[in-house]
Amino acid sequence: MVSLDTGKKLQLAFFCGLLTVYSIWPETTQLSSLLIFAAIVAKDYKSALAITLSSIICGAGYFGIAYFVPALLVTLVVAISLRPKLSSFAIRLTKGFAALYILQCIYYLVVPLQLSVPGQQSFSYPYRIGEALDKALGLALSRDGLYLIDSNKAKAELKPSTIYGEHDIESHDGNNFTVNNYTQPKRWNSKQYLSSENIRLSLSKDGYHALNFGSALKFQGLNVLSHQHWFNITPVAVVKEGILFFGDSDAFVNRLVPYQINLLKTLQYGTCYVKPIHLLLYIIILIFFVIGSTLERPLLIFIPILLVISLNMMDQQRGDIRLVSNNRGWPHTVGMYGIARHSQDSGLNYLFGNKGTRILALDRGMKGILRDGENVVIMGSSSKLKHSKGFIYTGETPMGTTSGIKDSYRIFNDYEDLVGVGAASLVLNGRDITIISTNSPTKLDPTHISLDE
């Protein structure tokens, strides 16, 4: 075995492993802790310092510190590290900052925020908060939260634990939680966030924070989540005096919960992954920062990568719809990604998931395998479904509205026999399966996706 000092091949293998993880699970690029670790493995302390400090900027934003303060700190420390005489000091500084950062990550993980649901709501189902949120988190949240519209109740000294703002509500006298309506300057999946590592990780996993129009929170507190557009920072979630404020409720209402499951889980549990493994990852990285350079068994440096792989491999979400799609950017789409929103709009509390699902949604051109329990399969054009005895294909030529299915396509079996247009009932894997072929599943009549509970 080659020692770490001369173990260039080992380092090369480590970087290749890291690149592979990033390629397979791009959201893990938000794991700054892993990158700091990688820099220290490469003995590139200047890069490690720069990454650590830039990560701390996000953390500083969490505490509501003005943006330029940590930026100034970064510049200062990097300047110090460039002085050759101070290099050993810079290395110690790096390790110290890195350790502090990991401790901060552990704190967020161990002491998560607690959500609650507004007890009284005047909104109709898809815009309510509660049903889908409970289902996504797998528990019944306490009903002691508030909508901001009910702030008069808050004035009556009712102590809520969570307050959800709403961008439709104008600021008015007597509103204790002054908000200011603003428009998102970017597409949802192009936004930049200032937040803890875990929340950024979960938002990357969801793809975005669902918010077209929002209400900026004006008061000071712990900035749980801020939107960043160049140097403009807009706090949208703040903790103050033990109360969790959200500037806008969009991400929590039933119709959008299926698209924000990872964020919601992180807010409630501190992570959207398996918590013990996530905690173990931070602890091991922390240990390596302290003793890593004196290790006798350099192969141990791969443990953090293995833990990240485990995090993703064990990542399971119980839900109703299993989506196979490369297109996950816009929940209001008419396409396959909009199917969960459509079900919520129809009063069906369905979530996306990969465990215990009952509907399989194959986007156009995608392939999927039928699992036990999945009795309805919605297939886009040119998609392919594998079952125990072969395949089901859909055609490419649009067939208009057929069998009550808009934007329908033909359905074929292994022998290229036409088994239906738009819809077909088939016996697959020994049970009755309903196949629907359309590229506009959000225009389906809800009866097509309604399942017996």
């Binding site: 260039k8 380092q11 090369l12 970087f15 290749c16 890291l18 690149l19 990033y22 390629s23 791009p26 690029t29 990158l35 990688a38 820099a39 490469a42 003995k43 590139d44 890069s47 990454i51 970017k186 597409r187 949802w188 999946n189 192009s190 936004k191 930049q192 793809g207 975005y208 297109n327 996950r328 950017g329 816009w330 209001h332 789409t333 008419v334 396409g335 990604y337 030529t397 649009p398 208009g400 509205t401 808009k406 934007d407 590229n439 506009s440 225009k443």
Partner: protein, 599 residues
Amino acid sequence: MNKLGLLASAIMAGGSFYYFQNGGYFQALLCFITSAIAFGSSNFGNTQKLIFSSIVLILSGISLLRSEMSNDFLGIPILAGFVCCAGMIASKLPNGFRRIILVLATVMIILPTARYYFNSSIYTSQEPSRAILKNGLWAYVDSNNDSLSIKTQYSYSLLLDILGADLIENSSMEDYDELWIITPTSPFDAVQIDQILKWLSSGKKLVLIADHTDLFGHTSVLNTLTNQLGLAINKDAIIGMQGGGGKYIDFLNSHNGLTPSSISGRAISFMHILGYDDGIDYSNNSFFNDFRITGEDDLSLYTCGVVGSYGKGVFTVFSDSTLFSNFGISRPSSQAILKLLVGITLPSLLVILINMTATLILGYAVTNSKKYAWVFLIALILLIYILLLGKVQGHLYWPDDTIRASGNWNIAEFGDGYSTPLASAYFAANGFPKWTRRSSGQFVKINGRLLNSAKASPRFLKNDQDLKACLESELDHTTELALGLAENIILEEINYGSFWFNNGVGPLRENILKRFWGADNKLSISPEVDKFSCKYHLKDSLGVFEISGRNLTGEWFILGNGIVAKKIENDGFLIRKQWQVHLIHSDNIILRFTENTGM
């Protein structure tokens, strides 16, 4: 570390991504290999730091690109990552092997240029005999009858005249040098495809015009032919950076375009559009999607015009047909693109030039050999020669009553009050605007006269007492209020099409268009006021109301506060949104008479 080599590597990596995005997988692979070799050859020593800084670079790239662009641009930093890894491996390859790869890559890059150089169709006559193939029901060439109906305006009769082309059936193409096929909707059979390909390979020129969203199945039809040429027209619609129509970019210029489809495959692109793929929704009218820039729309530099060679012949594909219709051909951008299409089929100068330059730098960087550099330089000279050939324009037959137009193209195409009157020039001015010069000034000049957009706007009505008397009353009210209709009026299903012209734009607007071109006003309104009893549907009931109307001309009436309506026999009034001089808040509606008026 050889910085020149790194630059070459970056350019080739970009080329690889471009080709991959546009379906040119072989070229993408080639660019990738050369990029990796350049990267590997340019870096010796400091391996770990190099890789680590590459990772940081990749992550910075992801962060930067994510903030401004679509997720799909993640492909660039990921590609960079793979180039880093492959480059490490490539750096261990023997020099001889690397040089062989380099020479092969160069040959592959030069080959398309050489094929054009020796292609006979480049030297065809300056006045080729042209034909437009009659195929299907969408693209038709009914002649202009001076009316503003869809049938006339969405025709290609002007294009037919300007090309000096004949309209032919499939079997009679042998006598022609150049064949145009515009959005065909009747499927080609194997015999027809074979016939076209044989004709093309004998040294002819084929121009294929497609459009967005596989409308009426034309893309499916065209692809049966283009697949034989190694191309695919994608079933999509590309919208511009701000939504709506995009800008078509060629080597030197940009042109205002509409919503083309993208093209991919083994050909050289000469026209691009930077925009978003809005996708396709077959359950919508015209198969357009939501026309909004959303997270599901991929941002890229899409190809909308390509050229390629087949046998001795040359083909061109352009994926926007609307520009060449009777109402689009008067646009300056349409005419500029038409000149490109009929000129010497220009290879993708931009792509080839970048490839050549990159290869030149690459060759020198990797080999440090002047010998190789000379080979690349010769290739570059060959390219420039082709470039010069590309300046030759094909002949066009402009109409006799052409009027010379110049000025600001953007104003002419998008300026408030300009685009529709200019598009209707043939109808309103009895002349066809031929654009000669492009100017950055804020004016449009035709036949030496500055056009005043104010005359094409409702403000012009202030000088018309008859119309003014009719229209000035109650203009503050919305149309629905004037009609006494509730917001939940049920709209009639009306089949309408063009976005610039409908089935007649109404006498008021026709009158305004003529005034734009300096024609006299002969329109007046009857002083007699009639009362009409109409009915309308609410959600759960039937409402009845009375509305006043004055006869304008023939079956045309002005209702209430100035709504242009056409009497449908004796059954009711048809009100189209497009006929109105003022903004109308509702969509197209039909008001039924409570009883047959017998008028």
